[in-house]
Structures are given as C-alpha cells and as structure tokens.
Amino acid sequence: MVVTGQPMGAPDPGGRFGGFGGRFVPESLVPACLELETAFAAAWADRSFRDRLDGLLADYAGRPTPLTACTRLSAQLGVNVVLKREDLTHTGSHKINNVLGQALLAERMGKHRVIAETGAGQHGVATATAAALLGLECVVYMGEVDVERQALNVFRMQLLGAQVRPVTSGSRTLKDAVNEALREWVGSVETTHYCIGSVMGPHPYPYLVRELQRVVGEEAREQYRGLSGGEDPDVVVACVGGGSNAAGTFAGFVATRAELVGVEAAGGAAVGRGVPGVVHGMRSLFLQDEVGQVLEAESISAGLDYPGIGPEHAHLAEIGRARYESVGDDEVLGAFRLLAETEGILPALEPAHALAWVVRAAGNGTLRPGANVLVTLSGRGDKDVQQVREMLS
C-alpha cells in the first residue's frame, strides 16, 4: 500500500485526505464502518481475495479494457486523444470494478444483502449484476426523476433480480437516493452492506472505492507506455460526479508528470462553486446556500447530478495536484456527437463531459497543439440514446 502523506496514498487513520473526509454518520452506522474498514484492510492484504477479484475482473468483466487512439478525432482537434475504454466492460461502465470488489467484501463479512444508490443507473445495474453473480439480495434506491430519464436501466436492474425503489424526497435525484439508502442502512446495517457507488460517503468508502478503481489508472499507464515507447501522457482527463472513475484514473498517473483534470457538470460543479461542508458522511465541497442547506445540482447527465464531490478530489484541488473544470450541457451534446461521428463510439453523457473539456481546451489553446491527452471513457452511451434523441429533436 502507498505511504500516507503522498498524494493518493492511504488517508490518515480518521479517514482524512488533508482536511477532507472523515466519518460523519449516525452512531448506529459507526460500528459497520469500522467493520468494513477492518474487513477491507484484511481482504486487500489477502492474496486469495485479490486473486478472486482479479479473476472476476478478467473473466467476467472483460479486463483489461483497451486503449484506443482516436485518429480522426485527433486530426480534427489538433491534439492526440487516447481513450481508456471502460465502456467496453461488462455492464458498460467502470462501476463494475467497484461493485465486484464490494460484493466480495459483503460476502466475506457474512452479509447476504446489498443496497445501493444510483443516478444514471449504471451503478445500480452493476450492483444488481454483481449481486446476481454472487447470489446476494439487492435493493437499489433511485430518484424518481432518474427513474424516468433512465427507464431502460430500471428494467435492466429488475431483469437482474434487483428491487428498484424510487425516491420521492427532495430533488428526487442522486443526492436523495443517497439519503434514502443511508436511512435504510441505519435500520438494516446488521444484515446489509451498503455498496456506495463512488469515492464518497464516510471512511473507509472514499479510500476503498478509489483502491477498487485504481485498476483503471494502472492499466492505462502501462498501456500508454507501451503505445508511446515509454512516455506518459501530458494531460489525463476524467469526468467527476462523485469522482470514482477520475480517482481510479488519477491514481495511476499521480506519480507521473501528467497534468490531472477532472471535469464536472456546470450545474454540479462542487469544486468550482461549492464550499466546505459535511454531508453524506464526509467533509468535502458541496453546493449549498449561505446557512448550509444543500442545493440541488442540475445536469443532463444523471450520473453527474450530484452537489458534492469525493473528499480526495477536494484535497487534490486544494493542494493543486489536480484541477477541476466544468462544462455546460450544450458542449456535452456536441462532444457526444463528435465522438460518434469521428470514431464510431457513443459515449455515456458523463464521460462526454471529459471530452467536451478536451474539445474546448484544444480550441482555445489551453491544450497546446500536439498535446498528448488520455481521457477515461467511463461508460457507453446506450442508456442515453433516448434522452439525446429527445434533446436533439
């Protein structure tokens, strides 16, 4: 394990990355968080656990995922774009890396039931998938708004044997799905593992999820070096909702000289417009009003519709090791179409944010001509086709 104190090493014993993180949960949940922390430390050091996870990642999820050099897109933008293809995993996004690990942990802790929150539905689908694979009971909380805009993913989860519970409180999106999952967990904690979908929540989740997503960045660095004769990219870009695909990607490159860029939705830009606060078990940056009521994020992408950001990203922003940008819905739609037309790849709307920033930065000179850019394509766009169709008509 990486030494504490280096960027993207282990957090301190209280689960802090600099001033962010911690464990701000009701007392009922504290023992479960401690149990998970202990179980994860033991499992992560256990060769047989790692072998089993690696086996599932390879034979079930389809890892390693390829890198794709984008010839026509690069020619058009004037920068060299390479994609890390998490869209090609089983279930179609990086979320599968996290849930396979957490489902194995749940099993190891003797918990036969998992709950999850989901925004776009990708994490819900991934959790339902892992639960089916390991024979666990699965309940997914999803905001009512997202149930509507991601109807196909709701049906997928049901086909996989999961129960989907629409959440009608608050903004009826991802934030409220997290609230409802936490409320349920307060009651079911003795039998149930909460499979959090991003690098957020109380310690040890931000750390645990980042370690489970680290495979994205480590593979990408190896592959990139192979492709480029031993070089690292100049810039590494990933979209940020809670920040798990970005954290996993950055973990592979934090020790290189690559510039790290996280891209948020303009309507949910926690680094750009958020202030420090304590919500969903963590101290981090959140969109909130002047007294501390949490504001509702707004984005076309259900997966980025979250008013906060994982605590490690707040820390990376603070120490300047990563930088966080935001893009608007129109730019995202443009990037979505551009990748489809130039490379024959329909990205999910979430990673289309990362691409949209690359398009903008290549256009305005933020990226120098010929810069080498690695973008994590965190998921495929099938789930968004209907929504994009409506937006374009």
Binding site: F24, G187, G277, V279
Partner: protein
C-alpha cells in the same frame, strides 16, 4: 455534593482516550443536566418532546404549550435539507419549515424571544453548524438561551472540535448511543455526553412504531449500567403506554414523530399540549 463523585460511573475508561474531553473527570452539570437530574431525584420520569422549528407560524406557541403541558425539556429542530436520521414525518416537517424560509437564525430568534420555562436543546445536522463555524454556532446557541445541542450525524470520533467550542460557550452536547454500540464504545460515549445520554431505541430512523422494540429496553439497561447521566430513549417512542413501558428501565423518553404528525395534521398548540399532557399523565401514574 461533588459533581465528580456524582458522575463517577461515566468517567473515562482507563486507557481509552476521550476525544474532545479536555479535562479529566467530569464537569459541573449544565442547565439541562442539572434540571433533569433534579427532576429525576424528585422521582419524575423525564419527558422531552421534539418540535420542528419553523413548522407553522405558531411553532413558538407549540413549544410553549408543550412546556406548559408538563415537558421537562424540549428539543427544537432546526430543519436541514438532507436529514438522514429522520423518517417521513420529520422529513415532511423539515420540508414545510424550509419552504416557509426557516433559517437557523429565525429558529434561534424564536427561542430567544419566547418565555419557555424549561431547558431547550437544539437538534440539527452538523452541516448547519459547520457552515456557521463551530465557535460562532456555539456562541449563537448560548446567546439564544439554548442549553444543549444534539447533532445525530456527529459521532464521538468527529465531535472533538465542536465539543470544545460548545463546552467553552456553556452549551451541553448530548451524544447518542445506538443498539449497535458495543460496551467499550458506550463507556466512551457516556463519558463525553452532557445533558443526558440519548439512547437510540432501535436500528432505524425516526418514526412511529407499533410496539416498543426489545432493543429500546436493552440499550436503556446497558446505558443505565454504564452511567449516572440521565438516560433518555428516543426514536420510535409513539404512545403514552410505550413511554411508560420504556421508563420502567430508562430515566425518560424523547418523543418526536408522534407529536410532529399531530402538528402536520394541523392540531396546533392545543393538540400538542393535549398529547404531551397525556404522555405526562402516563409517566406520572
């Protein structure tokens, strides 16, 4: 009477440091704890109803009616946008209060301006405190005449900085213990709790329940064995009969959703007073 001797059973367990507890031994009880101890010493079972601040134009009158009906102290909620310890009833109350533009300041002004007659504890979530800053919020609570604070998402390990400011400002921090809290942890929690110990009666969020959970009596029994601090069971306490049953073990109860449901139904100060009086009679019988 020596305060140290009186609270001795709640003293820190040797070898387990208590975060946020600057002084060894126990402090002089604050206004809430002193009041509850005195009532208990007089033979009373303790009744602490919860009211959401800003719920309805007449919420301050509700607080006064609850006090007049025989409450020993009152918990006033400052509504938060994301109350993860609360079930549907208190969530709805929070939504309504926030829609009516309730802010922490307006709740505190309401408390400060009213003649209430019993100690007030504020219940809210830590983000509202963090946004203001620990020191400023502690000072504002004190200035409003609030005796204590209950922050359900601020567990022992994270409570140190807040507790230090609250102690300095003379605000008692009530900590919570849950059915999942083991013995050594319970000992550390009671050592750092002020005012009373909030024993969460069941694994779950606030809301009414049909029956008294076995865990309510169990946590009350364990807590009573661990501390001399008043032990109040909250979450799920719904009827006078349930309150009476729990108080055979606990020193008292916190009653939230059962009262707030009546307020949501428009029963107002009168209905609130009637319900609390009924609870009072059951506990005094």
């Amino acid at each position: 009477m020596s305060a140290a001797a009186e609270t001795a059973p709640g003293s820190p367990v040797p070898g387990s440091p208590v975060p946020g507890s600057p002084v060894p031994g126990s402090p002089v009880p604050g206004a809430l704890e002193a009041h509850l101890r005195a009532r208990r010493a007089a033979g009373a079972k303790l009744l602490v109803p919860y009211v959401t601040g800003g719920l309805g134009d007449d919420w301050v009158e509700v607080v006064q009616a609850v006090a007049a009906a025989g409450a020993d102290a009152i918990e006033v909620g400052i509504p938060f946008s994301d109350p993860v310890m609360d079930g549907p009833v208190i969530q709805e109350a929070s939504v309504r209060a926030l829609r009516a533009r309730t802010t922490p300041r307006r709740v505190l002004q309401g408390i400060a301006a009213a003649e209430i007659g019993i100690p007030v504890a504020v219940m809210t979530y830590y983000n509202l405190v963090a946004r203001a800053g620990d020191r400023r919020m502690a000072a504002e609570l004190h200035a409003a005449g609030v005796a204590a604070a209950i922050l359900p998402d601020l567990p022992l390990e994270e409570a140190g900085p807040w507790c230090a400011e609250a102690d300095a400002a003379g605000v008692e921090t009530v900590l919570l213990a849950a059915p999942t809290t083991d013995g050594p942890r319970l000992a550390r929690i009671v050592a750092r709790s002020r005012g009373f110990l909030y024993a969460v009666g069941l694994l779950g969020v606030t809301g009414e329940r049909e029956h008294v959970a076995r865990s309510a009596l169990e946590i009350a029994r364990r807590a009573k064995a661990a501390t001399d601090l008043p032990v109040l069971v909250g979450v799920g306490v719904s009827t006078p009969a349930q309150a009476e049953e729990i108080c055979r073990v606990a020193d008292g109860v916190v009653v939230g959703s059962a009262l707030v449901r009546r307020l949501l139904a428009g029963e107002g100060p009168e209905g609130a007073g009637r319900f609390v009086a009924e609870m009072r009679r059951a506990l005094d019988a």
